[in-house]
């Protein structure tokens, strides 16, 4: 009798173990933004299709970056799927920290990924992270204020057009400021914007020999223009405004214009949150007359698999699911086309339903106008548009961001800010062995 019981138990255990091998629980580290939260709400669909369960670790962007870097460098194995950006992907792939995604099945249609996104998420020609959503930057402006000022915004404006529009719309007595821009210090905050302005004035961070170029006339012209534009026509306290602060100002109708991430378009046109939802127009990020580079950036939040995970197969299945065409259809069916993750796949922009979304065409045009492999007029040794894809960038960019933020706050001049940023960058690069 006891032998029979033992046999039964062994059989049951074997069955449980075998089924267990197929159904795994994967841990996914992610950031807190609208598209990611929507994905968390839809994971039942993934579990239904594959049998795998999902556990989420949601953290603020900078905390996540530090947490994930630490785990991946120490081989802690805490996460099976990582949400990482375009900045980290080529660096981490170069460190052999990520699993290549070149072997995704044909049904996934990897060729459908927008070429600019693919370029930014690859290393040595291989894809290491699949874009969940992508963004560029563009101008969002108040159509009613432009009309009142008797101005029209061209689809592809220059910085002079932007300055004229900012001047025309500014009405400080009624707390309307012609332009809102990022001033808050941080490599992902003001430096993302200032670097794109510099690109559009013909400046570059480093020459071909990795020598910092912040002491060049192009940088001086770009930073002086930015400083003048923001301090003359911008809101008070602009040196502490980041994405969220400017979003709040724009939604309350206090900005005539805002140049920032294309994903903001869905926020400012949402009547539940925005008081100006039906009065927003879009235009390409500007350039200086005669300069062949526009000031639009390129960014993607993408899903990657850390090398060494025990659940690589399940992790790959998840990435396939979350970045597939079917997922986009799923979101559209539940939440409408305006809420699907944008900027990742070409087919989305060919979809007639999505073409009806007011900011769809301008988002695609902005993304296509960005080329991370050739971000500047003059040649550079680095990849990246609003950042330089080297590990030292986070430190260099943050330090420079503090100088430029102090400049906007009126604590130092343009020349002083540039000289300090140049000296610090040169020191850091030398210490890093460039």
């Amino acid at each position: 009798m006891s032998l029979k019981n033992a046999l039964c138990a062994v059989t049951a255990l074997t069955l449980i173990t075998t089924t267990g091998a197929f159904a795994e629980t994967i841990t996914i580290a992610t950031v807190n933004n609208g598209d990611m939260i929507r994905m968390q709400g839809l994971t039942d669909d993934f579990t239904k299709k594959t049998g795998h369960d999902v556990e989420w670790v949601t953290l603020e962007e900078n905390v996540l970056r530090q947490r994930v870097t630490q785990d991946i460098a120490a081989k802690g194995g805490q996460f099976d799927v990582l949400t990482i950006g375009m900045y980290e992907t080529p660096i981490w792939a170069g460190n052999e920290w990520l699993v290549s995604l070149e072997d995704l099945p044909a049904s996934y249609d990897a060729d459908d990924i927008l070429p600019a996104m693919r370029a930014g998420l690859s290393h040595d020609g291989s894809l290491y992270a699949a874009p969940f959503y992508g963004e560029s930057s563009m101008i969002m402006y108040r159509t009613d204020l432009m009309e009142k000022a008797g101005l029209t915004m061209p689809d592809a404006p220059t910085w002079s057009d932007v300055e004229a529009a900012a001047k025309g719309m500014t009405d400080k007595d009624n707390e309307i400021y012609g332009i809102c821009l990022r001033g808050k210090a941080g490599w992902g905050e003001n430096m993302a914007f200032i670097t794109t302005v510099a690109n559009s004035f013909g400046a570059r961070w480093f020459d071909e020999n990795w020598k910092p170029q912040l002491d060049t006339p192009e940088w001086k012209e770009a930073v002086s223009f930015y400083n003048n534009l923001l301090t003359t026509y911008g809101p008070p306290g602009a040196s502490t405004n980041g994405f969220n602060e400017n979003l709040a100002l724009f939604q309350q109708g206090k900005c005539g214009m805002w140049i920032d991430a294309t994903v903001a378009a869905s926020f400012v046109t949402n009547p539940d949150d925005s008081t100006v939802a039906d009065k927003v127009g879009f235009a390409l990020a500007p350039n200086k007359e005669g300069v062949d580079k526009r000031s639009n950036w390129l960014w993607a939040w993408a899903l990657a698999i850390p090398a060494g995970t025990q659940k690589e197969a399940a992790a790959k299945q998840f990435i396939e699911w979350a970045t597939s065409k079917d997922y986009i259809e799923l979101v559209a069916s539940k939440e409408g086309w305006a809420n699907v993750p944008p900027g990742a796949r070409t087919s989305l922009y060919q979809n007639p339903e999505y073409q009806k979304v007011p900011f769809a065409a301008m988002t695609l045009e902005s993304i296509n106008a960005a080329n991370p492999d050739s971000p500047t007029v003059k040649p550079v040794p680095y990849v990246g548009i609003q950042y330089v894809a080297i590990p030292e960038w986070a430190g260099i960019g943050t330090a420079a961001g503090q100088e430029f933020s102090a400049m906007v706050a009126g604590q130092q001049t343009v020349d002083e800010a540039l000289a300090k940023a140049q000296a610090n960058t040169a020191e850091e690069m030398e210490a890093a062995g460039y």
């Binding site: 949601t58 953290l59 120490a74 969220n244 709040a248 206090k254 994903v263 949150d273």
Partner: protein
């Protein structure tokens, strides 16, 4: 005349105390108020104080999105466990330092305190590697041990200060009556030091509950406490202040209520021995 001066001084003191109290409490009050606003109201300029359409929507969203009870339970286990474990180690340690001091007691106390002078991030990587080796990453046991170790110097110091106030003669008398060491600590010292132990316990639960460096760095999905729950609602790209405030309110509510009910013990313990 003297009476009226006293009344005026009393009034001034009371007003000053209220003003300082309100100033300190204001961020918490603002968080609680914001949690009942819509996201648009949360960023309204001028800020809305009490006159807005109160909504519970944020709490509903947070409840739906996160498993609050799991985070809460992890917090209870980690904060409670680390404090109790710390007390078990610290009571005998403080007893020996207070009643049978050696030449090196003061140095040991200083050395214990000096471990708090190093920034936590300085030992993050070694501890992370040790945790990987021992399989303690993302476990409640691991976090309980780390938080106990982090707070142990404070527990020992606080208990040492309280024990020093207790006359050694009482313990001596117990020994003369034949009490063993265990009986002396358990039945004589501990009951006399109850206010001190209680305030140490409460303060350490609060410290462990709010600890956000180790709890964020050493957890992922399974052992994450309420600090990780709050962190999951912070976002640099998107306005989620009302939801973040709702999550924060839910995270601080239990410890706030505990503090409220035990404030008498807390104050008595913290001022224990201050007036002779």
């Amino acid at each position: 005349m003297a009476r009226s001066v006293t009344t005026r001084r009393k009034t001034v003191n009371t007003l000053a105390a209220w003003a300082i109290g309100l100033l300190i409490f204001f961020p918490i009050l603002w968080t609680i108020l914001t949690s009942f606003k819509t996201e648009a109201q949360a960023i309204n300029d001028p800020p809305l104080f009490f006159f807005f359409d109160w909504t519970l929507e944020n709490y509903a969203v947070v409840q739906e999105r996160s498993n609050y009870m799991r985070y809460l339970w992890n917090s209870v286990i980690i904060a409670g466990g680390s404090t109790v474990l710390g007390l078990i180690i610290a009571v005998p340690a403080a007893w020996s330092m207070a009643f049978v001091p050696s030449k090196r007691t003061k140095d040991i106390l200083m050395w214990m305190l000096s471990t708090k002078m190093l920034p936590a991030v300085g030992v993050l990587y070694p501890i992370y590697l040790v945790f990987i080796e021992l399989g303690l990453l993302d476990t409640r046991v691991g976090l309980t041990i780390v938080l106990m170790l982090i707070n142990l110097p404070i527990i020992v110091w606080m208990l040492y200060t309280y024990f020093k106030e207790i006359p050694g003669e009482i313990l001596e008398a117990a020994r003369m009556d034949g009490a063993t060491l265990k009986e002396e600590i358990l039945y004589i010292l501990t009951p006399m030091a109850i206010p001190g132990i209680a305030s140490t316990l409460l303060l350490n639960i609060i410290l462990a509950w709010n600890e956000a460096f180790w709890t964020l760095n050493l957890t992922a999905a399974k052992a994450a406490p309420l600090t990780a729950f709050i962190a999951s609602y912070s976002s640099p790209e998107g306005l989620f202040y009302a939801k973040l405030s709702a999550a924060s309110t839910m995270a601080i509510a239990p410890i706030l209520i505990l503090g409220w009910f035990s404030q008498k013990q807390l104050v008595r313990g913290l001022t224990f021995g201050a007036v002779k």
